[in-house]
């Protein structure tokens, strides 16, 4: 397969031909990820866009080596030229949380309910940066300030259920950033927040990226969040990358029918004068689970508005329509 980027040699994280198959999966034939490959360079922000079930979360977990042991994984994941897939548990310990960190979807669930949040951040530090307790506490407070939580003392001593939704998100970010990782994976980190808080969190992440220079992999189903935030977007469908490119290009001119469909989901404006009462919202027909994963043809075929005979019988190859972009669709072959 081709490398979409010219500068792939300088990639921090390089994922190649990653195929993941859950052992206990009901449909044994269909892998959760198929031949996924992309690069992450130092300091860049990459959005991964897709519906739920497209394999985004599996991707995130596999980058951190958190898939169940029984999972069948092939391909390679080169992080600083070391293949993460060959790592054992202790080697992973030197990567997780310190080089690659993750911000989870719902901090209310991903923070232990029975530990003070400060301690939870300190635990991460303790695991990777051994040092005296006192110093650690100061470090934690500094990190909390970095994510915009100025009342360090109160936050430090609070339990998760004592904090508001916005604060919890910041704590989760602080926890992920505590060891200044090179890569931060943010898995739908703003989903349960209202618009104001969402914007704040995006600001924090943007700030963090600017200040610490860590690469951010931002996983979302909402293209609107990526605008003005991510450099690059990777669109996933049914465990495959269907399109990749810089955000401005992709948003301006989406190539894959799926990308097009996703982009049109974002409402035009708050008061659409044309929309009459009860009129349908724009929507993608069908759902991911309708897709026949065992098909020989294009996986998106059943939901595609531009499908042809060919799409049913053959799987499209990846093409590079222009520098820095790629797409898997017959419309762009040749």
């Amino acid at each position: 397969m081709t490398c979409a980027h010219s500068s792939c040699a300088s990639a921090l994280l390089r994922i190649h031909g990653l195929t993941v198959r859950y052992a206990a999966s009901q449909e044994q034939s269909s892998p959760a990820l198929v031949g996924v490959e992309f690069d992450i360079r130092r300091g860049e922000t990459v959005g991964i866009l897709g519906e739920s079930g497209s394999g985004k979360s599996t991707l995130a977990l596999s980058i951190l080596g958190l898939l169940p042991v029984s999972t069948n994984i092939t391909g390679s994941m080169l992080f600083e030229n070391k293949d993460l897939l060959q790592f054992d548990e202790s080697a992973w310990g030197t990567v997780r949380g310190t080089r690659i960190a993750m911000i989870f979807q719902d901090p209310g669930l991903s923070l232990s309910p029975v530990m003070r949040v400060g301690d939870q951040i300190a635990e991460v530090l303790r695991a990777h940066r051994p040092g005296p307790r006192k110093v650690r506490k100061q470090q934690v407070e500094a990190i909390l300030r970095d994510v915009g939580l100025s009342q360090g003392d109160r936050i430090y001593g609070a339990y998760p259920h004592q904090l508001s939704g916005g604060e919890l998100h910041r704590v989760a970010i602080a926890q992920a950033l505590s060891c200044r990782p090179d890569v931060v994976i943010a898995d739908e980190p703003t989903q349960s927040l209202d618009a104001t808080r969402q914007a704040e969190i995006l600001d924090v992440l943007r700030e963090v990226n600017r200040k610490f220079g860590c690469a951010i992999i931002f996983i979302t189903h909402n293209p609107a969040l990526l605008a003005g935030f991510a450099d690059r977007v990777i669109v996933m469908y049914a465990g495959r990358i269907v399109e990749e490119g810089p955000v401005p290009q992709v948003f301006r001119q989406p190539l894959h029918p799926y990308t097009k469909g996703l982009l049109q989901l974002v409402p035009a404006s708050l008061q659409d004068p044309d929309r009459t009462r009860g009129q349908h919202l724009p929507a993608l027909p069908g759902s991911l689970s309708h897709s026949d994963r065992s098909t020989r043809g294009c996986i998106f075929e059943s939901r595609c508005f531009a499908r042809t005979e060919l799409c049913q019988s053959e799987s499209p190859r990846e093409v590079v329509p222009e520098e820095g972009r790629r797409v898997s669709c017959f419309n762009y072959e040749n």
């Binding site: 519906e51 939704g165 969402q198 909402n222 035009a268 708050l270």
Partner: protein, 283 residues
């Protein structure tokens, strides 16, 4: 708080109405005299016009869900009145309640938790019918299949269990169950918030279809103003147990009175405009 322009709706009597509704939770820790007081509802005045779609927006903990549960008669408020179809119902007897229940239905946020994992899809949908003794035996099953079809689920899946469905499908199941009793009033508590954009749009479209078909009245609760703002007729904004703003959507969006509403709207607009700019090719 009432806005003049609702006069048009005021002509029709409200389907559901809350007057001076208050609810306070007092929690006591086992080994202390200290108790924690949470005012979930403070003197809430709230109207729902028939056959309308009212969006209730507010951040988590603002009291939206408490209001929803009070309106659905799943919880009793401390003070205040609830009117439904022109009758005060907050102090109904058990028997009156049983008669009232089919008319007011609720769809919960966490579809996985609100569906018994041990039941099949058909059993889940049939449950209200069974409980209310509307149908029985084979008719029960065929009615469940009809309902599945109505919400866009294949009746072939009638024997699957909730965990075999995707989030969107589970939400459809929950909606099918809620409309099984042909209610007049459907309360959707964050019913679409856990879903992704495409599924959200589909579910909202489904709701619109159902509204048309059954002349349903909706109360759609969400933290996402941008989402519900697209389809709502009325918008209400809650903060700390109080309704700080309510009125027809256009009115509220055009002329928000409360700073919280203004803030929310500004953020939504910012996000949208970023996206439009990107689509337009700018950065």
């Amino acid at each position: 708080m009432r806005i003049e322009e609702t006069a048009r709706h005021a002509l029709k009597p409200a389907l559901a109405k809350a007057a001076g509704l208050s609810k306070r939770y007092v929690q006591r820790a086992p080994f202390s005299y200290k108790s924690f007081v949470i005012d979930a509802l403070v003197d809430v005045e709230f109207d729902i016009a028939p056959a309308s779609l009212t969006a209730l927006v507010g951040e988590s903990g603002s009291g939206k869900s408490t209001l929803a549960r009070c309106l659905a008669m799943l919880e009793k408020a401390d003070r205040g009145e609830i009117w439904f179809e022109g009758k005060e119902v907050s102090r109904s007897s058990d028997r009156e309640l049983k008669a009232l229940r089919p008319k007011i239905q609720m769809v919960f946020q966490d579809s996985a938790g609100a569906l018994n994992p041990g039941f099949t899809a058909a059993q889940i949908i049939a449950e209200p019918l069974e409980v209310q003794r509307r149908e029985s035996g084979a008719r029960l099953h065929s009615r469940a299949c009809e309902l599945m079809e109505e919400v866009g689920l294949s009746p072939n899946w009638a024997d699957r269990r909730p965990l075999e469905f995707s989030g969107g499908q589970r939400q459809r199941l929950a909606i099918a169950r809620a409309i099984a009793l042909k209610p007049a009033f459907l309360i959707l508590d964050e019913s679409v918030s856990g879903l992704d954009l495409s599924t959200q749009a589909q579910i909202l479209n489904l709701l619109l279809d159902l509204q048309k078909a059954h002349s349903l009245t909706y109360l759609l609760i969400s933290h996402d103003l941008g989402l519900v703002g697209q389809i709502a007729d009325f918008v209400a904004v809650m903060q700390q147990g109080k309704i700080v703003e309510q009125g027809p959507r256009r009115e509220v969006f055009a002329n928000p009175r409360h700073h919280h509403t203004r803030e929310l709207l500004a953020s939504v607009r910012l996000l949208r405009s970023n996206f439009r700019t990107a689509q337009a090719g700018g950065r």
